[in-house]
Each structure stands twice: as structure tokens, then as C-alpha cells.
């Protein structure tokens, strides 16, 4: 890479710097960590009832079993802060106490924890524990207990649970064309490749935890609050994470239990949740019932939108998903209303899963929009273009950028969209019914407070130290690119160190805010390094006075401006010090309050539906996205593609099936919980517009990690309609759902 190129690192499709370590097994994930002292192995014993009280627990046989070091139950568990205390620290920072009493709060909750020399010993001993219960009737199904529904105090991703702009009922009543539809979206589990895993070790009253976690600072608070410690006495290490998708935003039972047992044993304890554990000891996206009411005039102009959502909230754990949150930002209408209701339920932790709100919200809303376009006799792409708003409809705020129309137009052209109103069932390819569908994607863009710490050594090497995480997204790589561009230096001279709570506190990974927030902090820290170099250089050579720090260039161990050049070492020697060391801290600018900021996309799908069996197979999926400035075209492409694949799962595959008699999830492995496999993923095309949002952050970037999932599912559902005439009302769409429609079409 020559000098000229080195000014333009941002956007380059660089390979992941951590790629070789990952593919050669050198990257140490949480459960790979091996400390000086051999770890013992923990295993979670799960409750076999949905709600009730432990009437007796006999751990005698387990304690006597080979290799067993410790059995914890509510009878002997060390004292913890009550679950849910420290509420002001947020749901991730609050107490996550486990085994705190004889209550069973949900099916699969820990009733005991066995620690042994080996996994096999711990697992077998777990089976020797006899638990008896007084079973109580639990709430496992929000819809069946709708009479108990309440408005949530807070909603993830929206300011208010209920909001109405204009008068919905009046406007809807007068609308000549309407759609009213009720949708069901399923429970889902993130099913990251790496399970929740923790190695806990204590030294002189201080706790070090190697764990798979997205946000270290919250995990530190959560553990400290649970264990009644000072956050400063807890260190979290998480250099590599095998996928998060929201499931690793907060800590889970294995982390708390490992920490408790390691302290009791004075020995490190390692716990990796099993795949079956994850379905109750990890978080999930809960079922939602969404009701959409849309009204339009006969020309296809939206008049009224109403989006209602009903879902369960895990008792004592404040999280509700804003399924209707995006509606107020999507299309122009005279009246827009959203209402969210929740029922407290005795189910495992409900929490964020990739694109909380938008993922399931666009799935239903963009399906209903397609239906309304059809009723108006308007091409669905055209319908969306017709209803483009000038300002954010729900708030009246100006959009920072609004490139949705361009995404739709370019997508339609690339895909070969045949415009015109939808007429289902008209296209055949051999034994396949073929359908096309379109949907818009929208995902809010957020900036969270983040710090960064950078030091430049005398030989020109830059080290960044942040408690940021790379959950597989490419953070290591893009932060290096941002720093290289900010300092005008070679990316190869930069070492990015992440995932240690001893480093500068950042926002961590979540909500698609990681790259923009932490990236900006890195950018600022590097600007501060420039200023530091210049001010020091000016102290030893007056010729550097008055120079703009932005003109400095780093070339190996020298800094130069114009025809002046100095070795970094000379500057350090003259003014004292071993390195140039700078910190930065950023937070969202005013434009995040005064403007509506979103990233956008348009998704186009082609499906085939088998005329014999009603099997639905995606044939191609194309997305055109605008997420501001792209920081790395390769990792961005991968993120968008991964999101689109999540969308395939949302439309056709993924569902966690709960037996509501017991509150138990039943399909608890990856043979039964269907995530898309290679054969479900045909030609995926990702197009990125070269955007730049100057209101978002100094880099001009916007969140990208969750954008791809939004819109992909409804584009597929709309294509299924185009193929068969079946309007999806519940997801994922199965054979039996489309079989009647196929039967009507072909016999």
C-alpha cells in the first residue's frame, strides 16, 4: 500500500485481522481459556417444572459421586443481592442472582449446580439429584392471559409504549381501502455457534471472569451487584465471541454460578452451557401477536396506520420489544398509532435478539403494506415510493438522510422487478410456482457513550486498548482502519486490543451502535495523538508551530509535515516520556435528538413453491442498503448477508416451540430448531449505496449489523403470496400454511 492509499483506509475491503487466528484455532474463546490453575467444571441442573416451589432436594448421591467437588442448591448457595435489585443499573447491570431461594421462576431455571473434576462427572452427578416440587399454575402464554395485559413501563427501542399522531380511528373509518390483519411471530433463540460460557477465578478477593459477552462494562456491574462486590474488583475478559445476536448483551446463570462456586472452592470453575441449556438459561425473543390496521385512498396513498403488539415479559426482568416502533418512521400517513401491551409470564428471560422491534415489526408491517398495495391495485414498489414522507411522520423531525426511495429504485432495477399490481399464482417454472416480493428495511441508528485509549510508541506502533468486543462483526479490523486513516499511517502498524474491562470503557457491541460509537472514540483519540505530537514537536522545533495537526503524517517511526520530518523517538527524548498516550470519550451529538436517524434498505425475493408438496424454497434474495459510510466493504457485506440469512429464518424456519401446558421449550437442539443451512441460502446479492450521514458521527457511518434482517423476511413472505395467493398470518410459514392455497391453484 503506497502513501497515497494510506489516507483512505476507511471503506477498504480488508480481510479480518483476526481471521487467521480464528481459522487456525488460535483465537481463545471464553471456554478455551486455561489459567495457571486447572479449572473444575460446572454443570447446571435445570428445573423440570414451569412454576412452583422446591419442596425437597436431595443432593447426597451427587455429592458422593466420583469427582464431585461441590453441589450448590438454594440450601447452601452463598448470599447474593436479590434478583432484580440494583434496577437503576439497567437490566444487564441489575442483580442476576441464581439459586437464591426455593422458588422456580421458569422451566429450566437452575435448581442446583454441580462442580466436578470433569464434565462427564459433573453431568452424571447432575442426574443423581432428586428434586420434588409443589407445582403452581404459571403464565406461559400472553395471548391466553390477555386480560392481565398492561402497558410496559419502558420499551426497548422506542420512547413510549403508546403513541398516536393524528386521530387513527376517525381517519381509518373514512379510508376507502383498508387492511386488517392479525399476525403471530414465534419465540426464537439466537443460537449463536458459541454457547454462553464462563471461566471464573478468584485471587485475593478479586474476581476475573473469562466469558462470552457483548458489553463488558454491564457484565462487570451485573456480576458485582449480584455478588455484592465493587465493580472495580471484577475483571471481565472477552477477546473473542462466537456470535452474540443480542443473547450475550447481559450475563446469564452460568456466569453467576461459576463465580459463586469458584469462590467456594478457591479454584477456577469453567461452565459452558449445553445447547439444550441455552433454550432456558439463555435469553430468547418471545412470541408476539401483532395487529395491523392500514387505511389508504384509492390512489394508494396511506391515510391511517395502527400497529398493536402483545407479548410476554419474563416476570421481574424488564424487557419489551418495540414491534410497532418503526411504524411511525416508515411511511407518510395522516394518522399513525402504535400500542404495546405485555403480560408478565413465568418464562425464561426475554431479551433482545438481532434487530429487536424491527425484525418482527417489519415482518408483519411490510406484509400488510404489500396487502394494502394489492387492494389499491398499485405496484408494491410504487406504493412505497408514493408514500415516502418528507419528515418523520410520527415526530415531525427531519430525517438525517432518507435514501429509501433510491434503495427501492436501484433494487427494482437490479432484481429485474416486473412492475404492476400483484397477481398471485401466475408464474410457473416446471413443478414450481414462482413468486416475487419486495419489502423495505429500516433500522434506527444510535450512538452510545464510548471511550478509547491509544498509545503511539517511539517506533511508530499504535496500540488501541478498549473494552469493546468483536462478536464476529469485524470490529478488530475496522477500528484499525479508522485509526490508520485518522493518523495517516499503515494499518499494519496498529495493534487493536479488545475485550478486557481493564481497558477504556466503551459501549460494547449491541444495537448496531458498536462501530459508529467506538469508531468515533478511536477517531477522537487519534486526533488527540496528532495534537499531542504536534505540541511536543513544537517545543523542540519552532518550525512546527502554527502547523495544522491534520497535516501530520506518520511514516514508520517518523512524523512529517511538508518537508519537515522528525523521528518520534527524538520528540519523546526531548520532552520526556515513552509513548504518546491519549484518551477520548464521545457521546451522541444533538443531531441524535433533533433528527430522525435510520439506516435503510430494500429487499427483493424470489421463491419457488413446490406444486406437489408446498415446500417453499428461496431462489434468490437481493438487498440494496444505505448505512451511511461503509467502514469496510467486506465485513459490511458479510454483516448484511448474515442479516438477510436471519431474515430467511424468520420467514421460513426459526421457531422455538413451547409446550404451554408446562412452559417448556421442546425443540432444544439445532436438529430441531431450524436455522438456515447452506442449501436454504441461494443467490444472495448485497448492494451498498455509498452514503455518508454527517449527522450520525464524524465518520459518517450508520449501524449495519441488524439492517439486513429487517425487510428480508417480509420480502420472502410477499413472494410466497405472489407465488401462491397465501397471505402469511403466522411465522415461520410452513408447508401446511400454503398447502390449501397450492391445492386451490393446481389441484
Amino acid at each position: 500500500m503506497n502513501q497515497q492509499d494510506s489516507r483512505n483506509w476507511i471503506g477498504k475491503p480488508l480481510d479480518r485481522v483476526d481471521g487467521p487466528a480464528k481459522v487456525t484455532g488460535q483465537a481463545t474463546y471464553a471456554a478455551d481459556y486455561r489459567g495457571a490453575r486447572a479449572a473444575s467444571i460446572g454443570f447446571i441442573v435445570e428445573a423440570g417444572i414451569g412454576k412452583g416451589r422446591i419442596s425437597s432436594i436431595d443432593t447426597t448421591a451427587a455429592e458422593a459421586s466420583d469427582g464431585v467437588l461441590l453441589v450448590l442448591s438454594h440450601k447452601n448457595a452463598p448470599e447474593q443481592a436479590p434478583f432484580g435489585s440494583h434496577k437503576d443499573a439497567g437490566r444487564f447491570g441489575q442483580s442476576h442472582a441464581a439459586l437464591e431461594n426455593d422458588r422456580v421462576k421458569y422451566h429450566g431455571a437452575p435448581v442446583a449446580f454441580v462442580v466436578a473434576e470433569t464434565l462427564e462427572q459433573a453431568r452424571h452427578a447432575a442426574h443423581l439429584i432428586e428434586v420434588k416440587y409443589d407445582i403452581e399454575a404459571g403464565v406461559f402464554d400472553a395471548e391466553a392471559h390477555e386480560e392481565d395485559a398492561v402497558r410496559p413501563d419502558s420499551l426497548d427501542g422506542a420512547d413510549e409504549a403508546d403513541k398516536e399522531t393524528g386521530n387513527f380511528e376517525k381517519t381509518f373509518d373514512k379510508a376507502p381501502v383498508t387492511v386488517e390483519a392479525e399476525y403471530h411471530t414465534p419465540a426464537q433463540h439466537a443460537s449463536a455457534m458459541e454457547p454462553h460460557a464462563t471461566v471464573a477465578e478468584w485471587s485475593e478477593g478479586k474476581l476475573t471472569v473469562h466469558m462470552a459477552i457483548q458489553i463488558l462494562s454491564d457484565a462487570r456491574k451485573g456480576l458485582a451487584h449480584t455478588l455484592k462486590m465493587e465493580p472495580g474488583d471484577v475483571r471481565i475478559v472477552s477477546p473473542f465471541i462466537g456470535g452474540g445476536f443480542g443473547s450475550k448483551l447481559g450475563i446469564h446463570n452460568e456466569a453467576v454460578l461459576a463465580a459463586l462456586a469458584a469462590r467456594e472452592l478457591d479454584r477456577p470453575v469453567r461452565v459452558a452451557q449445553t445447547r439444550r441449556n441455552l433454550f432456558s438459561n439463555g435469553p430468547h425473543r418471545t412470541e408476539h401477536r401483532q395487529r395491523l390496521k392500514l387505511g389508504a385512498d384509492t390512489d394508494g396513498r396511506l391515510l391511517a396506520i395502527s400497529h398493536d403488539s402483545l407479548a410476554a415479559m419474563a416476570r421481574g426482568y424488564p424487557f419489551a420489544e418495540a414491534a410497532g416502533g418503526l411504524t411511525q418512521s416508515s411511511y407518510a400517513a395522516l394518522a399513525i398509532r402504535m400500542r404495546h401491551r405485555i403480560v408478565e409470564a413465568d418464562i425464561p428471560k426475554v431479551d433482545s435478539m438481532r434487530a429487536p422491534g424491527e425484525a418482527i415489526g417489519t415482518l408483519t408491517f411490510e406484509s400488510a403494506i404489500d396487502e394494502l398495495a394489492e387492494r389499491c391495485g398499485v405496484d408494491p414498489v410504487q406504493f412505497r415510493l408514493l408514500n415516502e414522507p418528507e419528515t418523520e411522520p410520527g415526530s415531525g423531525k427531519p430525517f438525517s438522510t432518507r435514501p429509501l426511495a433510491r434503495c427501492l429504485s436501484e433494487g427494482a432495477a437490479s432484481f429485474g422487478w416486473r412492475s404492476g399490481p400483484v397477481r398471485p399464482g401466475g408464474k410457473r417454472d416446471g413443478r414450481w410456482l414462482v413468486g416475487h416480493g419486495v419489502a423495505a428495511a429500516i433500522r434506527s441508528n444510535n450512538i452510545e457513550p464510548a471511550g478509547a485509549e491509544a498509545s503511539l510508541s517511539r517506533d511508530g506502533r499504535l496500540t488501541l486498548k478498549l473494552d469493546m468486543t468483536d462478536i464476529g462483526t469485524g470490529t478488530y479490523t475496522i477500528l484499525g482502519q479508522i485509526a490508520a486513516e485518522a493518523l495517516g499511517m499503515q494499518a499494519g502498524m496498529i495493534e487493536v486490543r479488545l475485550g478486557d474491562s481493564d481497558f477504556a470503557e466503551t459501549c460494547g457491541s449491541g444495537g448496531s451502535f458498536g462501530a459508529g460509537s467506538t469508531g468515533t472514540a478511536v477517531h477522537e483519540a487519534c486526533q488527540n495523538i496528532r495534537a499531542d505530537i504536534l505540541s511536543r514537536a513544537a517545543r523542540i522545533d519552532a518550525g512546527w508551530s502554527g502547523v495544522n495537526s491534520g497535516e501530520l503524517r506518520l511514516d514508520g517511526d517518523r512524523v512529517s509535515v511538508g518537508d519537515r520530518s522528525l523521528p518520534l523517538g527524538d520528540i519523546l527524548d526531548a520532552v520526556g516520556g515513552e509513548t504518546f498516550h491519549c484518551k477520548a470519550h464521545i457521546k451522541a451529538g444533538d443531531a441524535h435528538e433533533t433528527m430522525a436517524q435510520y439506516s435503510y434498505g430494500a429487499l427483493f425475493a424470489e421463491v419457488g413453491v413446490d406444486t406437489d408438496t408446498a415446500e417453499i424454497r428461496l431462489r434468490r434474495l437481493l438487498g440494496v442498503f444505505d448505512a451511511g459510510r461503509i467502514l469496510n466493504r467486506k465485513t459490511a457485506h458479510s454483516q448484511l448477508m448474515g442479516g438477510m440469512i436471519f431474515g430467511i429464518g424468520a420467514a421460513l424456519l426459526e421457531e422455538s416451540l413451547m409446550d404451554k401446558r408446562y412452559g417448556a421449550f421442546m425443540n432444544r437442539d439445532l436438529a430441531e430448531y431450524h436455522i438456515a443451512v447452506n442449501r436454504d441460502v441461494p443467490r444472495l446479492e448485497v448492494h451498498m449505496l455509498d452514503g455518508f450521514d454527517r449527522h450520525s458521527n464524524p465518520l459518517g457511518s450508520k449501524g449495519i449489523g441488524e439492517l439486513g434482517i429487517c425487510g428480508a423476511g417480509p420480502a420472502i413472505a410477499n413472494a410466497v403470496y405472489d407465488a401462491t395467493g397465501h397471505r402469511a398470518r403466522k411465522f415461520p410459514v410452513h408447508i401446511e400454511d400454503v398447502l390449501p392455497a397450492v391445492s386451490r391453484l393446481v389441484g
Binding site: E120, E615, L653, D659, M666, A676, V677, I735, L739
Partner: protein, 329 residues
Amino acid sequence: MKPFDYVRAGSAQDAVRAGAEGRFLGGGTNLVDLMKLEIEKPDRLVDVSRLASDEIEDGVEGLRVGAGVSNSALAGHPLVRERYPLLSTALLSGATQQLRNKATVGGNFLQRTRCQYFYDVFRACNKRVPGSGCDALDGINRFHAILGASERCIAVHPSDMAVAMAALDATVETLKPDGSTRSIPARSLHRLPGDTPQFDHVLETGELITHVVLPASPPKRQFYRKVRDRSSYAFAVVSIAVAFDLEGGRIANVSIALGGVAHKPWRADRAESVLEGGSPSAELFAMAAEAELARAVGQGHNDFKIDLSKRLIVAALRDLSEGKREIAA
């Protein structure tokens, strides 16, 4: 996993002598999972994976396949691809490449149901704990049986290979602990649940599958098709294996087996009776499908499988009479 003895058998005779108190270990792709959950708790595992049972021999009686042959090897064998294409297709439609590399012919027959109530030790399951009840009856039963079920059990057998073997009229050869051998028609290896769903098959304790013999002259036209929710690595919603010859424009030697519908690979003998000797036509195929599914009973979530099975039978017969051999969904 309950601690167990591990014995590596040097010969089939050794294996059956050692096996009476335990379970035979082939690829372990299902058994080991079940042991981790302590649904299977053998005191002893007799490892038969290293027996010289990975041979495939062609002879006058047919193709004799060792029980230790991997699913991948059998699917890819040139004679299997040429003479028993439905078997090859069935094998390749099962599981994943990694599992097929490990799974054996003998073990594939003896894999246990995927009924989620069987897997969840907190739920009632007569197959897992006889007499405890069946939570699937009023539970999530989309994947369950529509044919031959009982009030004690509505689980289905998950194998693709066994469906193909049943349709091909393969024979399973076994060795008993007393040293005697027997031959069991593949279509009769598994049983219906009745009052004793804990028994998946007719093998006696300690009886080892040693070989499977495929008939020398199977019908020329063969077809396997699997309907599934996910395009790979998914158990069948319904599957079908069909074989017949066309002799003078009439259907001869027809055999049909359905998967995903019953506690065993379901030989559709009523459909076969309708078809045998008939001239291929849409009406005949529909009549055959109706005849077979007349006694089907849905459990609620799986009612659609009755109609789906009929459609699949008709489609398979149609495609096969038009000369299509296999299908990649």
C-alpha cells in the same frame, strides 16, 4: 452420562457374547447423544465399529452390505448408485455429511425417534418410561404419526435409509448371543407401538445386525423423495420410496414405503394392491393414495400430513412412470 464399561469387539461373535448387558456402538451419532441425556443408560458399550463389517459384496443373492458400512460409503458405492438409486438418494437426504460419514448401516436402522417428548426427561413418554403416559398426544405433535399409532405412542421412526430398505425388500441378517443367525425382512424389522412402545424393533436383547442384503434384481424404476421444512439437515415431514417395473405398459413388482408417518417405515401395501398390474394414470395413482391413507388419523398439528402423503404418493408415481428417477428438492 452414566459411567459404563467399554469393550471393543474383535469379532461379531465376541460382540454378541459381550453385548447382552449393554448396547452396541456403531457411529454413536444417536446413542451417545441419548447417553449424555441419560435417556440411554447402558452399563456397557460394545464397540462394533472396528469389526470387519465395512465390506460390500456383490453375489447371486444380491448386494451384501456389512452393518458397519458408513452411510456415506453406501450412498456413494457405484453398485448402489446404479442398481438401488433410491437407497442412495435416501441416504444422502438424511442428516449432514459429517453425520453420514460417521453413521453406520446397522446404527441407522436402530436410531431412535426424534419425538421431543422422548428427549425431554421431564415429560411423560411411554417409550422412555413405560407406563408414564404420552405427552405428545395433546402436545406439539406436528411431526407425529398418522398411521399405525396407538394411544400409548404416536412417535415416528426418523430414518430415511430404513424407508428405502423397506421399499427395496432388503433383508437384515443378525447374530444372536447363542450364536444362531436369522434373516429378517427390512420391512418387518421395526414394529408398531401398540401397548409396548419401548420396543422400536423385533431384535432380541444382544442380537446384532451384521449385514443387510439387497435383492439382486430390484425394480428398474426407483424413486425417493423427502418433504422437509429445511432443505437439508432436517427430518422428513413425509418421505416416500417407490420402486416398480413397467411391463407391457402395466405396473409390476411395485413397492412403496412411507417415512415420517408411522412408528416404522410404512409399507403401503394397500396402495401397492391397487397399483399392481394397472396402467399408469392419474386416476389410478389417486386411487392408490386414497386406499393407503383411508385409515390415517391426524393428531391435530399433523393433520396436513394425510393430504400431503396422498399428494406425495401421486407425485412420486407420476414422476416415476414418466421416467424420472430421483428428485433434488
